[in-house]
């Protein structure tokens, strides 16, 4: 029997075994490729999405265990209508290779939803599960502070 799944407000019926991780359902079944595969063991954060606003590693959530609505980077904003946090990322020219940035942004968005003006220590605590081999961390930090300001003013 297909498994119902809601992603970015759209309802899907997924005809796959229930142990297939959400990551691969998103990427290979639905075709939402913004969420990335990096390690498969929750060690890099590239696959971070939100389920009911909470940041989770989609490589560790089996399809059958998804309870709630999934938001991916594509659901946060689009090139023509970016979310504040994406605008902050662009303003600071954060991305280098860019591969980890979907996960970084989804993690940071969850942080800002809970902690609207995070300190550097709070950023460290929330973001240290997200690996970036290009070393964009200083700009990620700056972009989170900028996004916090933008969202406060909005």
């Amino acid at each position: 029997m297909p498994t119902p799944l809601t992603v970015n407000g759209t309802r899907y019926d997924i005809d796959l075994p229930e142990d297939v991780p959400l990551l691969w359902v998103l990427r290979d079944e639905i075709g939402l490729t913004g969420t990335k595969y990096g390690c498969g063991v929750a060690a890099c954060g590239a696959c971070t999405v939100q389920i009911d606003g909470e940041a989770v590693r989609s490589c560790q959530v089996p399809l059958g265990d998804v309870r709630g609505e999934v938001t991916t980077i594509e659901g946060l904003g689009t090139p023509d209508a970016m979310a504040a946090i994406q605008r902050a990322w662009a303003e600071h020219q954060v991305a280098q290779c860019g591969y980890c940035q979907s996960g970084q942004i989804m993690q940071a968005a969850a942080l800002l939803a809970e902690t609207p003006a995070p300190s550097d220590d709070e950023i460290d605590a929330a973001m240290q599960g997200n690996l970036c081999r290009c070393g964009t961390y200083p700009r990620i930090r700056a972009a989170i502070h900028s996004a916090a300001k933008m969202m406060k003013e909005a």
Partner: protein, 746 residues
């Protein structure tokens, strides 16, 4: 030019390695323009291989792989500057694999000279040699060469296209070309009439290209200032398409499992358990491993694990210590190179104090964030390959050979890459995808490596050993004699890229050591090659990634033995040899308020390396914290000659530093039973946001020629940290990674 042809016919010198046989071409073939691979739409024109104007607008071709270094943006900016178009009026494409897109700087960079002492003649020679890159199909992104390669050529391409468009307008309006000007993709006549480039492209493409002098940098509108990257919005909205994101109609997904014993073959396999699993289409024999094709990547990965396989052992020593014994045995043979031999390094100057030390660095994986992958579609007469890669023409040739087609029957689509660092200059991931696709004609297949396969089947940065003997007298360095032993990635890569045996002095083994701009009267550096076949490759900053640490750490030891401040000691050595190197040291001293003194619980170290033509100095500050030793701050000064985009340069230098510090702290590939022990990020970690230092970068432009920035940030970061730890703890790090000897914040 005649001499180049002669060299090429005999034994072509590619920097460190002389490639013998196989390459034969005449002067005309070298100088002849490569065909323009672009095909404009109706009513358009391809003014040269880099400027295409048609109904889709203005497309600039940046045929260098975008792996995060921002090359597509700055490359396009070089053309746009002279073409008189704005960055928001263009789109930038990587374009096809084509000879016209050869790298004219890569072979020049590989010349075995020191670099900083290059004369005008030396530069001309490098440029001339670079042209040979065309016939060797060197469309390669690497060696921090893109800006060196493109700086003049791409501005010239823009200027020529502009003047040719003006000529087309002049013909149309019946005025002289000199009476026309250009702005924002328009030709404008003295009377105010305007014609869009798009309306002139077809006519201009029919004219002979017109050369024009390059503008003075003082007139630049775009270059020299921060430019928003053309890939940024796509990368923050999840819409940038990496190789792993390619989606084609009817596509299937594959995973692979290769022999973990490097170099070993597969003896037998039983795929019946895998074929019984849900979603599995088939299992493909790749010779030294298998691939499973399924309806999604995860199912394919699970099924690949379920295949029962007997592996043959490899031929290299089974464990890490045995590997390093073999590297040490390299010292017993003759030196492969003596690229520096000033004065008499064999004799200890009278009254001097001698110090000796041995150093060791481990093998390293690239660990790009995006695991290796490629997508292929085979029709029987044609093969298409989609992948992030740093060498499209070599990719095309290898894939063609793998499926029995001519190279012309293979089309390579180069995507964004989630990190390259040298790994994506290799061909294995593309060839495997082609092999799988060839088994399923008409069905596109995406082959994705698990992180574990990626980590255990890399072309590793070689492990290395160094033996140093130095002497100081009256506070000065009077002798330095270094010996370094390692495998040669260059020799291996030339075999993989060109199918040619390589020999001769290997620059990579000693790069970052022999060519340091230090005036030491008795100064010798010898390289030794290790007799091993462990797969090794180019890893961000290549030889300097080893020697940055090996050589500069020993310089630090010499400074302490001489009783001198380590920064002042280096500065004095550099000042007498190469002024721009001294200036970066002075700059980093000023930026960091270096006094040579640090309070209790704080340590500071300086590191310096001249690599890829860019002298770079780094200061790292470490602090004791309750959670371990933390890197609190870092300062970098680098001289790139011409700073085309200061904000992007800052990102490259600080990013290069983080890559180096990650390796210095945690990076280590070890072996057991001939297989790599590290599997994934939990045992091959890198810096994270909380243990990356606050970093300040300053870009200098004192050097006469433009140089690269993608790699030079990496080498000096490692000794700077090790030297800071010495300052903090009094313990000298002579091997990496540092986590084994220091309580680092993790």
């Amino acid at each position: 030019m005649a001499s180049i042809g002669k060299i090429a016919r005999r034994s072509f010198l590619i920097g460190s390695a002389a490639i013998v046989g196989g390459v034969a071409f005449g002067t005309y073939y070298v100088a002849r323009p490569a065909p323009n691979p672009l095909t404009p739409g109706a009513g358009g024109g391809a003014l040269n291989p880099f400027v295409l104007i048609d109904a889709n607008g203005i497309t600039l071709i940046a045929p260098r792989a975008e792996m995060g270094q921002g090359v597509q943006t700055t490359w396009a900016a070089l053309i746009a500057e002279e073409l008189d178009v704005e960055m928001d009026q263009i789109r930038v494409l990587h374009g096809p694999a084509a000879q016209a897109y050869y790298n004219s700087a890569l072979l020049g960079e590989a010349l075995p000279g020191k670099g900083y002492d290059k004369t005008s003649f030396g530069h001309t020679l490098a440029e001339t040699l670079g042209r040979v890159g065309k016939v060797m199909n060197m469309q390669v992104t690497g060696g921090s060469t893109s800006m060196v390669d493109g700086y003049s050529r791409m501005r010239a391409a823009g200027a020529s296209a502009r003047e040719t468009l003006k000529q087309a307008a002049a013909d149309l309006l019946g005025v002289a070309r000199a009476d026309l000007r250009t702005e924002k993709a328009m030709v404008i006549a003295a009377d105010g009439r305007e014609i869009a480039y798009a309306d002139l492209a077809e006519a201009a493409a029919g004219l002979d290209p017109i050369d024009a002098p390059l503008r003075d940098p003082a007139q630049w509108r775009i270059l020299g200032k921060p430019v928003d990257r053309v890939d940024m919005v796509d990368k923050v909205t999840g819409t940038a398409r990496f190789g792993i994101d390619v989606r084609l109609e009817g596509m299937r997904f594959a995973a692979l499992r290769m022999n973990p014993h490097l170099g070993g073959r597969m003896i037998r396999f039983d795929d019946s358990p895998a074929r019984a699993m849900p979603g599995v289409d088939r299992v493909v024999n790749l010779g030294n491993g298998i691939a499973v094709v399924a309806s999604n990547t995860w199912l394919a990965m699970q099924a690949a694990e379920a295949v029962e396989i007997d592996w043959e052992m490899g031929t290299n020593p089974p464990d890490t210590e045995a590997v390093f014994d073999r590297i040490a045995a390299g010292f017993d043979g003759g030196a492969n190179s003596t690229l520096r031999d000033d004065g008499d390094a064999a004799t200890l100057p009278e009254g001097a104090t001698e110090i000796t030390a041995e150093y060791r660095v481990p093998y390293l994986a690239h660990a790009t964030m995006e695991p290796m992958n490629a997508t292929a579609l085979y029709s029987g007469i044609k093969l298409e390959v989609w992948c992030g890669n740093q060498a499209p023409l070599f990719t095309r040739k290898s894939c063609a050979a793998a499926v029995g087609l001519a190279p012309e029957a293979v089309e390579v689509h180069t995507t964004y890459m989630g990190g390259g660092f040298g790994r994506r200059g290799e061909l294995d991931f593309s060839v495997y995808a082609a092999q799988v696709a060839a088994e399923m004609p008409g069905t596109p297949v995406q082959l994705t490596w698990s992180r574990e396969e990626d980590m255990t089947h890399d072309f590793y940065r070689p492990g290395a050993l160094a033996r140093f003997r130095g002497a100081v007298k009256d506070g000065k360095a009077v002798l330095l004699d270094g010996q370094i032993a390692a495998q040669s990635p260059t020799q291996q890569a030339m075999g993989r890229w060109l199918g040619l045996p390589a020999a001769g002095p290997d620059k990579g083994t000693v790069d970052g050591a022999f060519n340091q701009p230090y005036a030491i009267p008795n100064f010798r550096v010898r390289g030794y090659l290790a007799d091993l076949t462990i797969p090794v490759g180019f890893w961000r900053s290549v030889g300097a990634s080893m020697n940055g640490f090996l050589f500069d750490s020993f310089i630090d030891e010499m400074a302490h033995a001489a009783g001198r401040d380590p920064l002042a000691f280096r500065l004095e050595l550099a000042r007498a040899e190469y002024a721009p190197a001294a200036t970066v040291l002075e700059t980093v001293r000023e930026m960091s308020d270096w006094t040579g003194e640090t309070p209790e619980g704080v340590g500071r170290g300086v590191g310096f390396c001249y690599s890829f033509g860019t002298p770079t100095a780094t200061v790292i500050e470490v602090r004791d914290t309750k959670d371990g030793i933390a890197m609190s701050r870092a300062w970098i000064a680098a001289d790139v000659g011409v700073a085309l985009d200061p904000r992007n340069l800052e990102a490259q230098l600080s990013g290069g530093m983080v890559y180096g510090l990650s390796a210095a702290c945690f990076g280590e590939i070890t072996f057991a039973e001939g297989a790599v022990e590290q599997q994934n990020f939990p045992d091959y970690d890198a810096l994270r946001i909380h243990n990356t230092p606050t970093t300040e970068v300053r870009i200098l432009q004192n050097q006469e020629h433009i140089s690269g920035a993608g790699e030079p940030g990496t080498p000096p970061s490692m000794p700077a940290l090790a030297n800071a730890l010495f300052d903090l703890t009094g313990k000298r790090a002579r091997s990496l990674p540092l986590m084994h000897d220091f309580d680092l914040l993790v």
